[in-house]
Amino acid sequence: MLELALHVLDILRNAVEAGATQVALTIIEDEPANRLTLTITDNGRGMDDETIRRALNPFYTTRRTRHVGLGLPLLAAAAETAGGGLMIRSRPGEGTTVETTFGLDHPDRQPLGDMAATLLAFLLAEAAPDLRYTHRVLRTGFPADNPVFAQEREFAFNTAAIRAELEGLPLNHPVVARWLAEYLAEGERELKEVEHNEPGAVEGAGV
């Protein structure tokens, strides 16, 4: 997997397999701290200490269709390669939190990739849990110690609110899915536009 968004999709799928009804995904791109954090929390069946320990072993899986479980080990490797790490907190019956950190400007960090496509693939899953999504981008000021040009942007939504508005229509209804695809792509695109606006903002302020 060559982008972090694909790893995220994989871990989100774990939540579905664990019978979760609620999932929270938080992405924070923190330039001042030079850190990228991905946190996925679900209320699925959770894991005991022994299972947590084994979850990072690629030759362990609870599945019966095959004998390897690569999702968490691959993400852990991607994080460790980029100066970060992966932490699992879980209790049986209470759910699981997977928190992964990366050096934001680490040369070996995989790009975040197409988060909109990942979110769509997750939300179209059979029995997709409700998702609370937050993607926050904190930009360093210019110069770095000047807060004037520092920016914070966020794209966030909660599928519970979307579902309430849809009055029982499934998210994978063709009309709804088309709308979701556009909504997610636009939300993510607006976050990326921060970078392109930055030079204009600096120039316009006469610095």
Binding site: M1, L6, L9, D10, R13, V16, E17, R63, T65, R66, G69, L70, G71, L74, D114, A117, T118, L120, A121, F122, L124, A125, E126, F155, A156, F157, I162, E165, L166, E167, L169, P170, N172, H173, P174, V175, V176, A177, R178, W179, A181, Y183, E186, G187, E190
Partner: protein, 134 residues
């Protein structure tokens, strides 16, 4: 901000979807994309995106849904097409560039592409005439 726009949009989306509900139930088509670790690593997310784009471009109403691994990892991305009254057909190694032909042949011309088929499921019983070669 898309969030503010969304709530107004959603009412329109809901009304449009409810209007099309009857037609959709009569011609129900579901396309299922395997999205386990193996599917994701083989490019299933992009295949799913290509399917949604193709359906929208051709104005075809079909449900697209994602499922986990079914154990035939070597054939990922796996795409199943299920249509009312017809066997569920599983296609293997479906790359985004194959999607256009798949939609045209299977959904429009009603001719499954036999050389891409890796499995069939008729009336909830798996057929053995197309044994997967793993």
């Amino acid at each position: 901000m898309p969030k503010l726009k969304s709530l107004d949009d959603l009412k329109r989306v809901r009304e449009e979807a409810q209007q099309s509900l009857k037609t959709r139930l009569d011609t129900g088509t579901t396309i299922i994309v395997g999205m386990g670790t193996c599917g994701i690593a083989a490019g299933a997310r992009d295949t799913m995106h290509a399917i949604l784009t193709e359906l929208a471009a051709r104005n075809i109403d079909a449900h697209v849904t994602t499922v986990g691994c079914i154990g035939q990892c070597v054939k990922e991305p796996l795409v199943d097409i299920e249509q009312a009254g017809q066997p569920r057909i599983t296609y293997g190694n479906v790359k985004p560039e194959m999607v256009s032909r798949l939609i045209e042949e299977h959904l429009i011309n009603n001719r499954p592409i036999e050389e891409w088929v890796v499995g069939r499921l008729e009336s909830n019983v798996a057929s053995t005439n197309v044994a997967p070669t793993v």
